[in-house]
Symmetry: C2
Subunit: 336 residues, 2 copies
């Protein structure tokens, strides 16, 4: 910047003003402004955002923490976040926590050390210490996908209860009574909890007896084997499960695989509804019925909320989006 200023015999201040579009505000000659702009081009000068950040206290960087960026659900959210914030002049640092609370905590710290201006995160924490800390510090952030109990913070989630309800009701309507549920640990996640609640409510409202042996939880780190084991036990005569509601796309895929290994024909031997709709579900055999989440909208809304928080608006925003059941053929629809 000094170079530009010197070669024009003006001060750095002036250059800075022009570059920040504050030329008019400070009443600087149009001609002078143009000269600055030209010189900047000529010297191919690029402002150093780090220096600017040091001075302004802003980095124009936002953080996004999800459990796994290679999960299509989060990848789509990431994409919509990126699209939206880039229009607003921000960039985004993305990281995966692997459902590990410690790792998540570290990531939050690292991102804050990097002076991100705000954070969008899908938390896996159970004690929420970091969330509380951020709130206490007045640091701008939005929770997505998962909310935390009893804490007044911004969030953008979908109505998991309703999704679980719809999915299970659909199964019941199609004539299934022995309906299993496979969730994923950590089980404290609000999403899993609510989907389970929806499942239970659907059973209750439709007079289907709840059997707790039909609810299984498999560990995130060991999905495939976990699901295989669960399916095996579900198939035993004493349980005689006819249909499963699986709690997310990973479990659905694992379930498809396990069914294949066990020689189960879907939906004849076992019907399945998934939570999370992903593109290829449509072309699976059988096409997978799933509760679709408005992924694009989640990212979009999260950015909206975060932008408000960045502006210092203090009321917390809690947004709940609607899921929708996409009916295909994995629940014996053709039999009805």
């Amino acid at each position: 910047m000094t170079d530009v200023a010197k070669s024009l015999n003006v001060s750095k201040t002036l250059v800075s003003m022009v570059l920040n579009n504050k030329g008019d505000e400070f009443g600087i000659n149009q001609e002078t402004q143009q000269r600055v702009l030209d010189k900047v081009k000529e010297l191919n000068y690029k402002p150093n955002r780090i220096a600017r950040g040091l001075r302004t206290g802003k980095s124009n960087l936002l953080g996004l923490i999800v459990s796994d960026i290679s999960n299509p659900f989060y990848a789509k959210i990431a994409r919509s976040v990126e699209d939206k914030v880039s229009k607003l002049g921000y960039n985004v640092i993305i990281a995966s926590s692997d459902e590990d609370a410690k790792r998540e905590s570290d990531l939050i710290q690292i991102m804050r050390d990097h002076q991100v201006d705000g954070l969008i995160l899908s938390t896996t924490q159970t004690d929420n210490v970091d969330i509380k800390q951020m709130k206490k510090d007045g640091f701008p952030f939005v929770l997505i996908d998962r909310k935390v109990p009893r804490l007044d913070v911004n969030h953008v989630v979908v109505d998991n209860f309703k999704g679980g309800l719809q999915a299970t009701e659909h199964l019941i309507k199609n004539g299934y009574k022995r309906i299993g549920l496979i969730t994923i640990s950590p089980s404290h996640l609000s999403t899993m909890k609510e989907r389970e609640d929806g499942y239970k409510r659907a059973l209750k409202e439709n007079g289907v007896r709840f059997d707790k042996r039909l609810v299984a939880e498999v560990p995130f780190e060991n999905l495939k084997e976990g699901v295989l084991g669960v399916l095996k036990s579900f198939m035993k005569p004493e349980l005689a499960v006819q249909a499963v509601f699986v709690a997310n796309n990973h479990v659905a895929t694992a379930c498809l695989e396990a069914a294949e290994q066990l020689g189960l024909r879907l939906p004849l031997d076992l019907a399945m509804v998934s939570f999370d709709d992903i593109e290829l579900f449509r072309f699976c055999y059988p096409p997978v019925t799933a509760v679709a989440q408005p992924v694009g909208l989640i990212g979009d809304s999260a950015v909206d909320v975060l932008m408000d928080a960045l502006k210092g608006l203090s009321e917390t925003k809690k947004i709940t989006l609607e899921p929708s059941l996409v009916i295909r053929k994995s629940c014996g629809e053709h039999l009805v």
Copy 2:
């Protein structure tokens, strides 16, 4: 930092040294060091990385630019990059270019403005001005997935020619002679070009006549309709295509959809091999035969190469990874 220093009656210098693990190097009392560390904890002091970055010229940030982070292929790469660099103390800014050269150029600029220490990118440029500029500036970067002709720069790619060759040969071995190819524009991409070359070579080596009417290119922005149109024309009696080799996972999905719309039964009416294997291909109907790319390894190697570049090692590294054909049932394997 001043707070820590003052409350301990030492200088900022000393605190800085201790925090950067240079205490011993400068021969500072163990006891003093411990006092500093304790105080830092007590005051919950966090170093400001922006300020440090301004001083050291390093941001500990790396950039990753791909065409679309929600494409599973890139999402997996992103994940492996993230995993690897986080162990090395870096974070990564991710952005999508949408195969738009201008956007890519802007992104490179933005990331460099953010003082990223290095860049990993899957370029879509045809003139490579930005690539040349980075090389000229001595800025550390690695190309992934796609290489650029006649330019001596780091890259990590897979052998697309071989992949195309294998895929097409497989089709030929299964008895197909009228084999279509669907690539995706921008067609100058090295990947597309090489896959096409592999396709041509396979035909030649196996004495199948090349018919240029069987090579189609659909625009990235308008895939679904494009593929539908292509499939329609391929089905005309004068072309009588029996099998297609599709150039990536998006085209494969679009092809699945178009086939459904046209009432084509795979592989009876049309066989298909895809480039890019994605998890659910296994469970599609029919399960999709595909050329799998070592996604994890691409990310991993790219980071290795970038780290060397960061250290100032100047020889350029060009890594070519091996693809592998995963045979399922979309090419009439059961008929053979």
